[in-house]
């Protein structure tokens, strides 16, 4: 695995992988959408509005999964000080924020017909909102510190502190209030929803995951190139110094 760890090899690998990943993501999403709209039955209570679940739940999973990817990249930064881990970390934060935002908005749009209000301070939506705020904080941190390696270490520490706190947040928010239907998919007794509804959900989740990895690879590639641009610009600016000193102020 280490062979791909150096940025140049990674760029070559990414260039090959990205088209395949993008294709797979598009295919999975297409199948998922088809199943959602043409095959899956409506819910006896919620009617067609249950179709928003196929968007809302995968987005929530992706928001969480993205944080896990960021945490492992953070370990990569702190333990092996590897530039690729820095790039993976920085690339994941905006994507995580995007997925949690989709989760929040679709949750609100799903909640309106079901609970009558745009937003309800229930346990799971609130935890996702806090996760969204953590993502925004991380993005703010990345933008404020200019020097890439230093920013990566700072973000890594904040990510790890976050990952320790997320279960605590989850528990305290649950304690604070619970209105949301209990976790119907991962109930201890296995999924409670009908298989005809479960399949579209899993395929949509697969589509989202593939989409995430495609975008993540592309964002890592951007990050590597922008660090290279920064390095080249600095050396080019420095190169200007010695030999042209003679011609100044002429």
């Amino acid at each position: 695995m280490l062979k791909y760890a150096n940025p140049t090899n990674f760029l070559a690998l990414a260039a090959r992988l990205i088209p395949w990943l993008a294709g797979a993501a598009a295919l999975a999403l297409a199948v998922g959408l088809y199943l959602t709209f043409f095959v899956a039955p409506d819910d006896y209570q919620q009617g067609a509005s249950v179709k928003i679940m196929y968007l809302h739940v995968p987005a929530a999973w992706l928001g969480m999964m993205c944080y896990m990817v960021m945490t492992s990249a953070a370990l990569g930064t702190l333990v092996w000080r590897h530039p690729l881990a820095d790039a993976a970390q920085k690339a994941a934060a905006p994507l995580g924020a995007a997925f949690t935002l989709v989760c929040l908005v679709t949750g609100s749009l799903w909640g309106k017909p079901m609970w009558g209000t745009w937003w309800v301070w229930d346990a799971r939506l609130t935890s996702v909102l806090v996760l969204f705020l953590i993502y925004l904080g991380l993005i703010g941190l990345w933008q404020t510190i200019e020097e890439p390696a230093q920013a990566a270490r700072a973000a890594a520490i904040l990510t790890l502190v976050g990952v320790v706190n997320i279960p605590i947040i989850k528990f305290s928010v649950d304690w604070w209030n619970t209105l949301h239907q209990s976790a119907s998919v991962f109930r201890l007794g296995g999924p409670a929803i009908a298989p005809s509804m479960l399949w579209p959900l899993l395929i949509m989740a697969l589509g989202f995951t593939l989409l995430f990895f495609t975008l993540h690879l592309m964002a890592i590639r951007n990050e590597i190139l922008s660090r290279r641009l920064r390095r080249l610009s600095i050396t080019a600016a420095a190169a200007e110094d010695p030999e042209v000193a003679g011609e100044v102020f002429s």
Partner: protein, 226 residues
């Protein structure tokens, strides 16, 4: 040959500066006291003295950042009721550059912000060419070295022509080549009727410049202006 600047009308050209018994306090203490000097167009004044003698304080007072406790500065000629500060450039320890912007953006901004009555100066590209930084014009200033930042700050003198140059240790962070060339630019400014007041340790290569020793100034004793 530097681009010839547009000549302001005769009456507006600054003929001279005269300072009488200047006193500047900081932190309740008289840092600079009893300072007098006379300058005519084309002259240079070297403000000398050990660290803490008040060189920077005097220049900052002339630039209008600090108020004069006693004494006054009179301008002879120059734009109607324009203060000394509005006809002067000040190059201090800080370069006045925004690290996030490129050198060209910074100079473009200061050209419009400090545009005096004396018409337009060099273009930002021309000014950067003059300080030998033409090729790094579009890099963010954050990527430049201290010496390069210093030269971008000095380029400010050329984008908005103002008769008086207040220079506080202009030669710091400049390599020998740049210092020699900057001396030539100062000579050109003086030839065009400009004034230079420089606080410095390093020799600036100014030809027949007057000297104003600050640590020689004792309370109640007129500074030696000649």
């Amino acid at each position: 040959m530097p681009q010839t600047e547009v000549r302001p009308p005769k009456t507006q050209i600054l003929q001279g500066i005269s300072a009488k018994a200047l006193r500047v306090d900081r932190g309740g203490r008289a840092i600079v006291r009893g300072v007098d000097f006379e300058m005519r167009a084309g002259e240079a004044l070297l403000v000398l003295g050990r660290n803490g003698a008040g060189k920077s304080t005097l220049l900052r007072a002339l630039a209008g950042f600090l108020s004069l406790r006693e004494g006054e500065v009179r301008l002879n000629g120059g734009a109607a009721e324009a203060t000394l500060a509005e006809q002067a450039h000040y190059v201090g320890h800080a370069d006045g550059l925004k690290a996030a912007l490129t050198a060209l953006d910074n100079l473009e901004f200061w050209a419009r912000m400090l545009k005096g009555a004396a018409g337009a100066g060099l273009s930002p590209e021309g000014a950067l060419e003059k300080v030998g930084l033409a090729r790094v014009g579009d890099f963010p200033v954050a990527y430049l070295s201290a010496g390069q930042k210093r030269r971008v700050a000095l380029a400010r003198l050329f984008v908005a022509p103002r008769p008086i140059w207040l220079l506080d240790e202009p030669a710091t962070a400049l390599d020998v080549g740049s210092q020699a060339k900057f001396a030539e630019a100062m000579a050109a400014h003086r030839a065009g009727g400009g004034f230079i007041l420089a606080a410095t340790h390093a020799p600036l290569g100014l030809v027949d410049a007057k000297e104003l020793r600050l640590d020689a100034v004792r309370p109640r004793e007129a500074g030696d202006a000649a």
